[in-house]
């Protein structure tokens, strides 16, 4: 079974995120970066499938700056077999379509059975790239899965996804794309020997030229959508706590909810 996981390096979830002074990006000073948490579920699921089948090859792929190599090494340290780092100055400002085209070009060289994505990257919260790649590769996909079972003939899988008020159970033929949601598994941590071993594992760096993609088909100039302005969320101000004993406070609350908020 050949499996790829597309990963993105993002600011750690507990980071304080503020817009930069010009409002065109976030203020990146002092931020620490991690593998997008939803992508970690993909890496873990790939490892589980490989362990379960007793064979397999796991490739992790990421588009990003030099620093992205750290995220790829982290995935090698938990057990992925090889990494592909796509890096090219021309990619700056690319939209999801361009990123998906680039990933597709890299993925198509690998003859894969399963491709994992996160359900969304926790920086842009977009949830588009995995579904775009599935469409571009003409593969079926199931998004936001929280359970996956590979059927014994290895040509099919059954995935679960949460919908409002229930769970959809979806059967899909392989090769297929899955985007991963929380609850799918518990990602493992890298062990010390794992970290040592990761240093020897292959990490190849590809440029747009290597993927035969024209630089003028990507980047900010060719984006159909661009980020315009970032601002902090509107601040809420604390209302005054309601006074009195429990009965008094509750009846004042009910009055306010009816007369002021008009929600009752």
């Amino acid at each position: 079974m050949k499996i790829a996981v597309c990963i993105k390096q993002v600011p750690a979830t507990e980071s304080k995120i503020k817009p930069a002074a010009d409002g065109k990006d976030i203020d990146r000073t002092g931020l620490s970066f991690v593998v997008n948490p939803y992508d970690e579920f993909g890496v873990e699921e790939a490892l589980k499938i490989k362990e379960q089948l007793g064979e397999g090859r796991i490739t992790v792929i990421s588009i990003g700056s030099d620093k992205t190599a750290e995220a790829l090494r982290t995935c090698l340290a938990v057990g992925a077999d090889q990494a592909i780092h796509i890096k090219d100055a021309a990619l700056e400002g690319s939209d999801a379509h361009a990123l998906a085209r680039v990933l597709t070009a890299a993925l198509q060289r690998e003859n894969l059975d399963i491709i994992f994505f996160g359900k969304q990257a926790i920086d842009d919260d977009s949830g588009a790239v995995g579904i775009y790649v599935a469409e571009m590769m003409n593969l079926p996909h199931v998004s936001a899965i929280n359970k996956l079972e590979i059927l014994s003939d290895e040509n099919r899988a059954v995935a679960h996804r949460q919908i409002e008020g229930g769970t959809e159970i979806i059967e899909v033929s392989l090769p297929a794309v899955f985007t991963c949601q929380k609850e799918l598994n518990e990602p493992r941590y890298a062990s010390l020997p794992g970290i040592m071993k990761a240093k020897q594992k292959p990490l190849s760096v590809l440029s747009l030229a290597d993927l035969e993609i024209a630089p003028d088909s990507v980047g900010l100039d060719n984006a159909v959508i661009t980020l315009d302005q970032l601002s902090p969320p509107p601040t809420r101000t604390a209302g005054t706590p309601l006074e009195g004993n429990a009965e008094e406070a509750v009846s004042e609350l009910v009055r306010l909810l009816r007369e002021e908020a008009k929600v009752l």
């Binding site: 600011p11 979830t13 976030i26 948490p37 999801a96 379509h97 926790i122 842009d124 919260d125 949830g127 588009a128 579904i131 775009y132 469409e135 571009m136 593969l139 079926p140 998004s143 936001a144 059954v158 996804r161 919908i163 409002e164 008020g165 229930g166 769970t167 959809e168 159970i169 979806i170 059967e171 899909v172 297929a176 929380k182 609850e183 159909v224 959508i225 661009t226 980020l227 315009d228 970032l230 601002s231 902090p232 969320p233 509107p234 809420r236 604390a238 209302g239 706590p241 309601l242 429990a246 406070a249 509750v250 609350l253 009910v254 306010l256 909810l257 009816r258 908020a261 929600v263 009752l264």
Partner: protein, 327 residues
């Protein structure tokens, strides 16, 4: 502005409220352009009148057993085909489990810009959209600009956009989609849908949410929260601490790694209001906090706060609400 196509999501023969919100948003943006709806499913024909009354100039309909369940490929093709036929400027749908899958699928098929989970939309004179959407788990609000006025796709956060008042005098115009998109090549097929036992009102769609946290002390005490929710016709939510303790499944979790909600009223009981919890609920219109710790961060964002013991306050509130409802 060219035509706007609204995907009118329904489940089990009921339109999602966010489908009507999308019609409301479309009507506001459309000016003199047409608002078209597309409705897909089985036994859906009866819903077309509602779509007309709420703002659709024309409804494209699939009422067919083969489409009773969602498939990204089947629904995606149907929506993309109509968008092309009508040269739609903008395609709108709710940011529901289905919309989060269908929106990118349609954008991928049409090559248009995609903006997910939008909380505001504006259009310029050429019909290009500027969308306001949260990023970084709500820590940032961004505006994104589309650079092309064709096939722009946006999903809308539920409970944000207003629904039009119904106009029941409007003549409905319905066109059955024919031929139907070919489903024989669909490779991801829903075999079964399991209804979850617990959800009377779905969190992300609820107008009122009552949520409980670690302050409840034990799983059985969620009955206090449920009693208030029942009295209000509200959905029940939970903090991550309550979910991690196994008191409620993950589908109840509100926050950064749970659901994002924006109800009219959010009542947090025994929830401290950690920044990750706030990420999921701070866009609620009104927030009520019930907590015994006056310094709990939840009070900083609450419109109304009661400092006190939830085991005393919440049942009193439930009784007071019941009394009003019986009046």
């Amino acid at each position: 502005m060219g035509h706007i196509l609204v995907f009118a999501e329904q489940r089990d023969g009921k339109l999602k409220r966010v489908a009507l919100e999308a019609l409301g948003a479309a009507r506001q943006l459309a000016a003199d352009a047409q608002v078209l709806a597309i409705l897909i499913g089985e036994h859906t024909a009866a819903l077309t009148q509602t779509l007309t009354a709420r703002g659709a100039d024309k409804v494209y309909l699939i009422d067919d057993a083969g489409f009773s369940h969602y498939s990204s490929e089947g629904y995606g093709r149907a929506v993309a085909d109509i968008a092309k036929k009508e040269e739609a400027t903008l395609i709108l749908m709710g940011a529901t489990a289905l919309g989060k899958d269908l929106g990118p699928k349609v954008a991928a098929k049409l090559g248009g810009p995609f903006a997910g989970d939008c909380i505001a939309l504006e259009t310029d004179s050429e019909g290009k959209i500027t969308a306001t959407r949260p990023m970084y788990g709500g820590k940032i609000i961004s505006t994104v600009k589309c650079r092309t006025a064709t096939y722009q796709v946006a999903t809308l956060r539920p409970n944000v956009f207003p629904v039009n008042d119904p106009d029941d005098t409007k003549e409905s115009l319905v066109e059955n989609i024919a031929p139907l998109p070919d489903l024989s090549s669909v490779k991801a097929v829903i075999k079964e849908v399991l209804a979850s036992a617990n959800t009377k009102v779905e969190l992300t769609e609820a107008d009122i949410i009552v949520s409980g946290g670690r302050g409840l002390k034990a799983p059985e005490n969620f009955s206090i929260i449920e009693a208030l929710a029942d009295a209000l016709g509200a959905a029940v939510g939970a903090s991550r601490a309550a979910v991690d303790a196994g008191w409620k499944p993950h589908s109840y979790q509100v926050g950064l790694t749970g659901k994002t909600v924006s109800p009219s009223l959010y009542i947090a009981c025994g929830v401290s209001g950690a920044i990750q919890h706030q990420a999921g609920m701070s866009s609620s219109k009104y927030i009520v906090a019930i907590n015994k710790d006056p310094n709990a961060p939840i009070f900083k964002i609450a419109n109304y706060g009661i400092v006190g013991d939830l085991f005393e306050i919440v049942p009193l509130l439930t009784e007071a609400v019941k009394k009003i409802k019986n009046e």
